[in-house]
Amino acid sequence: MSFASPGEFFAMGGHGLYVWLSYGAAVIIVLYNVFAARHRQRRVIRLVGDRLRRQDAARRADAAPPQTVEATGESIRS
């Protein structure tokens, strides 16, 4: 341990501003990258899922008489 007290640790021997500015920016950039990647995955899966389900629904509505729409649970191959 290079520091005797928490106060000394945060002061960083007078260079606290610079050290914490650097580490703060690093944390922000790292978190941004992690969450941007996660967010994009979820969003793409949701959007593409919505689109394909809409397509399926439209195709079913075209292909079958209206009363059987709920019965087909599986996706239709084109």
Binding site: M1, S2, F3, F9, M12, G13, G14, H15, Y18, V19, L21, S22, Y23, A25, A26, I29, V30, Y32, N33, V34, A36, A37, R38, R40, Q41, R42, R43, V44, I45, V48, G49, R51, L52, R53, D56, S75, R77
Partner: protein
Amino acid sequence: MTVKELWHKLGSPRWFYGISRPLGLVLGVLAFGLLLTGTVWGLLFAPADYQQGNSFRIIYVHVPTAIVAQSVYMLMGAAGVVLLVWRMKMADIVLKTAVPFGMTMTALALFTGAVWGKPTWGAWWVWDARTTSMLVLLFLYFGLYALRQAIPRQETAGRACAVLAVVGVINIPIIKYSVDWWLTLHQGATFKLTEAPAMPAEMWLPLLVNVLGIYCLFGVTLIGRMRAEIVEREQGTQWVRELVTGSVAGGSGS
């Protein structure tokens, strides 16, 4: 599995999507563990530098980000070659999804370099060889990003970016060399930030840990972005259809 088989599998988005989940989890755990260890070690336990005092601890952010930023560009150059020569779809996905990480890391390296420069040199910005090279690298990243945005057709954009990335990678060593020479012309031998003579082990070990950690972090975010890109591009295929519509009830969270 022979190398050739692996090569063919690497070209398959579906195969990659399958293995990328466990791979991403492992890399995620590694990245978290390594970065936490390296950072706590560097901040709390590494000794202060005899010349720079505690501002030296910025090294544990600055150097790993700078290294990974350059490696990412090299990787994009390699992906560019693969895309142009073998027209491998996955190479274009890498080429596209690696840009945000590389760009933000270059910016972070520049920022931490500036913040480090203030207590060390007394100025926020010094035209040091490394910072100048990083600045040019940032512009190279901007160029790739802008070119991708400017071309509407995806396949065309990918191959145009591949050409640019390859030309950029060829130029990077020349740029670095020229900037080094330029610096000797305009200022004498300056005190370099990261060139402590014979850094003791307790100083460079945490650095090594953080460098490994940030590579793992790159792996995790790249895999995450690639998975999203794969789903988007392969949405016409049966397996993606089953993935995004069939397994909704079972949960397709991450």
